[in-house]
Subunit: 382 residues, 4 copies
């Protein structure tokens, strides 16, 4: 089958790889109809991870079930399904408490809880930027979708970024009526803003400096805040009569840059601590890493982030972090899409065939204007 394969930094190609197939009795084989390129794929693409060459990328997958293992009883051949990026066993302690993003059994990597498809350190699982994907523990992991092709570009957001953005609001313990500050208007930040508005935020401020992204924030009913035009904390403080917001979401991660383009890993956390009111919550879904060998300082190399912790404590704030347990949210988000109350496809800028992946990675990595979110449809490549 055809698949997007990593050959080294800034080098992915679409080539033939052995067909995905059922390996365990609980496996399900999914023919991919849509698979997205994720911002976190670029970390690997840019060579900032330890991912091995030959890896098939792709953890945002959906498709139609082609075959099921002999122990599969819930999922059936022909089911249209969304594949959460987390691979969960469904029966370990974390899974049974709803933390499928921290499964204790599916990732053999020492010291890492949680597995995913086609990603560095997340276990030996091939990705889904391919014609087909093997899904372990299929009954556990797969979400069924209404048959047909309706809402394809909305449903494809259910595998990762829509639940991840939603998780940001959950980690921040957002309540209806809250004012919310979202830092970062990339796909995850925009999904967090969309989520906050769906669940009853009063006002959602979205901070970024890219005008196309801020325009999307505005389009979905959020309030864009351009940090290249002035201190975003001051802008939001002014808009809230000095009270600050009730909570905030971090959707940037450790590669935060100031307006001058310098990397400051503590910058966004500092801003959130300042802008969120006392007793408020901060949900962190932008990625921070335990080790970053290429970082500028010794602290950053060890994943130490010297943010304004004393202020964080004095304000009695709280903070939740980490990868989203997709299964906790994806059914409800699917139902909101079907009911016409969520429409995450507003993000999509490009729909391409699988064979166009090489170019797509180059453009997306270059942050070329308008390349917000790329979907690959393997079938249209045929």
């Amino acid at each position: 089958m055809r698949a997007v394969v990593y050959n080294g930094p800034h080098d992915v190609t679409v080539t033939d790889v052995p067909d995905a197939r059922i390996e365990e009795p609980t496996d399900v084989l999914v023919r991919i109809t849509t698979t997205n390129i994720c911002g976190s794929d670029l970390h690997m693409y840019e060579g900032r991870t330890s991912v091995e060459t030959g890896t098939v990328f792709g953890h945002e997958n959906m498709g139609v079930v082609e075959e099921v293992g002999p122990a599969v009883t819930r999922i059936r051949v022909g089911d249209r399904v969304s594949v959460p990026f987390n691979i969960a066993c469904g029966t370990c302690r974390n899974c049974t408490h709803g933390w499928t993003s921290f499964c204790l059994r599916t990732n053999p990597t020492e010291g890492v809880d949680g597995a995913a498809y086609g990603y560095a350190n997340m276990g030996p699982y091939r990705g889904g930027q391919a014609e087909a994907l093997r899904v372990p523990f299929g009954d556990v992991n797969l979400l069924t979708l209404p048959e047909g092709t309706d809402h394809e570009n909305d449903f494809t957001m259910l595998s990762d970024i829509f639940p991840t953005g939603w998780h940001g609001t959950e980690l921040a313990r957002m309540e209806p009526g809250d004012d919310v500050a979202v830092f970062g208007a990339g796909p995850v930040g925009l999904m967090a803003a969309h989520s906050a508005l769906i669940r009853g935020a009063a006002r959602v401020f979205v901070v970024d400096k890219e005008h196309d992204r801020l325009a999307l924030a505005d389009k979905i009913g959020a309030i864009p805040v351009d940090f290249s035009a002035g201190d975003p904390v001051e802008q939001i403080m002014d808009a809230t009569q000095g009270r600050g917001t009730d909570c905030g979401v971090e959707a940037v991660g450790y590669q935060a840059h100031d307006p001058a383009g310098d990397e400051h890993p503590e910058l966004v956390l500092d801003n959130l601590v300042q802008v969120v009111r006392s007793t408020g919550g901060i949900g962190v879904v932008g990625v921070y890493v335990p080790e970053d060998p290429g970082a500028a300082t010794d602290q950053a190399k060890q994943g130490r982030i010297p943010f304004e912790y004393g202020t964080f404590f004095s304000k009695g704030q709280h903070m939740g972090t980490g990868q989203a347990p997709v299964m906790r949210y994806n059914r409800q988000l699917r139902d909101l899409i079907v009911a016409g109350r969520a429409h995450p496809s507003f993000l999509v800028s490009h729909e391409l065939g699988l064979d166009e992946a090489t170019d797509a990675y180059a453009h997306f990595d270059a942050r070329d204007d308008g390349w917000t979110k790329v979907l690959l449809h393997p079938e249209s490549s045929r």
Copy 2:
């Protein structure tokens, strides 16, 4: 001052009463700009309660502060305020845990926790269908509003029915993405539906038989279910592929009637138990009373409701009940109104002067077509 006074069953008049005034150092005196007639006022109007003649009605009040007692430090003269229908001391055990609807100190009536303005059994407090209102513990109870007159008809819903409808969704422990069944499309039921949609329901079914009310449900994005056209449980089961809804709200109360017009106090609870799926929640904000001397059966006279409890248990459902603690929600709801994301004034059918109250009660009590919600503006009477 002028006020709406109860003289006996089906007899209210607008007459002169002694001026409201500061009596305690923590009191605040509010000049009323808008006061609504509530469906529960009709219980008194119809003579089904023990309310005394001479009572000034009115527990849905808002206005402008005219005077404050010497121990008042938060509220200031000139503040525009919403007055929650609950009168709370703010310092008893229930109040400090957020249950201002069950204040242990403000109601001297034996065995009743919680007080209100101008209402049977809820303590010796005059109502606000008048030119002015004395508000005990003003710093505790009053919600400040943006100055001016904007959103007057939205803000006037903050004193009771908007928080009460919201409380219904809270008691049902509604979550975003849920399908919700609301029984009753009166003002509280419509507010529950509006609330559910604001906080992220997927679909909200609203059950009633009055076409004007069902039309309002449809207008705000809910799905009207006409129980005169067929069993509402079956209709909703069909619409949910037999799954039922995730939760439900009771907004009818003990005076439930079947399509033939017969009173069946257990009818709505039965329907909710049937239509809500296993493990789901039921929020009850329709009123049930401990004693109903005029009821048809001995059981009903004692407030006993023989609903399908065995099914309730077998399905592992849960139920929350009781009057809404308005202060827990009204600030957030105010902010949603200001942000343009809530607009409860869609309910308003009539705006009248205080002197028109006698007629308004008669029409409202007769359920005359189109009399959904009546606001009285005392100033316009002058």
Copy 3:
């Protein structure tokens, strides 16, 4: 293998039945070391259910794994395990939200969510009062225990009554520092009292009339209330200076009797509504049934319970009900046993061989003095 088989009302015998065996790839076969007789087994024994003759009883099981199906990856041969009475698929909507007691897939019975071993209406699964038990979806359902034989009589309570009693406190939303009223000092009521004390109750009142059971309540630190010596509501009101308790647990069920021995299915709910303070919670784990053909009144036959609902509403109470999702609690309770902080074996009155089951049922059903809780050890029968 030998097993306890139901032949008809008041007639169980220990006889040979076909060996339990692996039938599905996800099955696990458990050799039973301890299996308890449950109070709910007596409903079947007394002929008040539709259970079929030939049924093997037993849903409180533990033992050692003898064989695992080819798709089992977590549980291993030789593991000592507790078997929750609920049979859960682990992947349906209710299971993934932690409601394994309402699994949507394991019980083929129309209209019933949730399955169990050897029980009327709970699916076609044989019970574990036998030498061995087939456990469906073994990776999902089984809890591993420390190897060996320590704490056997404590761990055997993990399959049902300890989690069920705990669930009662959870449904009541008990908080540390609460005063709690538990109605019923049978095994489940005593487990609820033990649970409440472990999780920080201030005082736990346990209401019953049997002196041996009240003595056990006293022994574990609860306050016994003998309802044959006076109205239990008054007794608890006196002890709480008229405030009532913060919450309550129903551990009696629809077969409640007054001191004179007459059945009053609404009696315990009435008492709880009266004794729990306004805004408090009631957790119902005593069983109520949708249909009770042998009941005295038409209402009771339909599972309608005419309790004081008007008072329930006026006090703003809430209520949770239903069978316990054992998996939500059993790991933590196991850890509390291992740490020496829970010791539910205080209940055990008899340890017998499997072959003594016939007699044991007769004594337990007769409520013979001192027959609090019977454990059967199949191996000791050999």
Copy 4:
């Protein structure tokens, strides 16, 4: 009246000051029966804060009501009361949501939410290490106690450290059955351990190096971990079979020292991130400050703490921080004391007269062996 007055670093004396008196209509005047020296008083004593000379110290106060202002309606002369260290208005947005430790109105200091008695930056309120104390908003703030003198040394812990330790377990979102790691066996750490055990922890590890404190931990049922004898993370990992604990409490603060005595403000947070399992919570009640001019590094001077944030994120942990809202817990903790289920007085090492305060400060500041917790009884000085 006599009071403990701060004259400068390491210099407090007991001298005459103007009598405390009613100043506002909502004030209550309390005659102090017991007032404790708190570890945080030593920050001021040592000169590491901006506290002004002449300040009367003391925020852990209890006593008997001597006089009430004219607007006080709940508290009465003669009531025995505990005085929470937070001074709350009871009616601002934070107070009405239960965050009395972040009151928006009682502290005029720019940028600081929350007030306290006799403390740097916490507003212009005199402390209670004196014969009497003025309590603002007395109806809001005071907790009544059973009359008499029983449990005096237990009840005196209700003003601060027992609720603060409890808050640590709450911020960590501890659940019954959890293993808990508490760092710091000072008074707050020991109270956190006592709290965790009361609310159903399986095992509580308490980390310190002082043998007298570790002995107290052992005495109350916790597991002492001596960090001078080896890496505490390794010790706890070994005891938990490598799983780590379910949650943790930080009760040390920014002045953490390694075994060699060097200050490392990030040390305890690092240890907690390492020892708490993925998805677990960390409750921080040890104090961190926004500015620490005397600190060793520029980062520390700005309150920046470069802990292992990348690991914190990768493990999906969450963290809550800040001063305890005493009123949220003190009633329940009082009831647990009365019921004999909490006994925080185990901490008390010294009971002295007020006039002995000067010496007591010196000994306590020197961490003299056995000076765990000092109570001052002003009456016994007379």
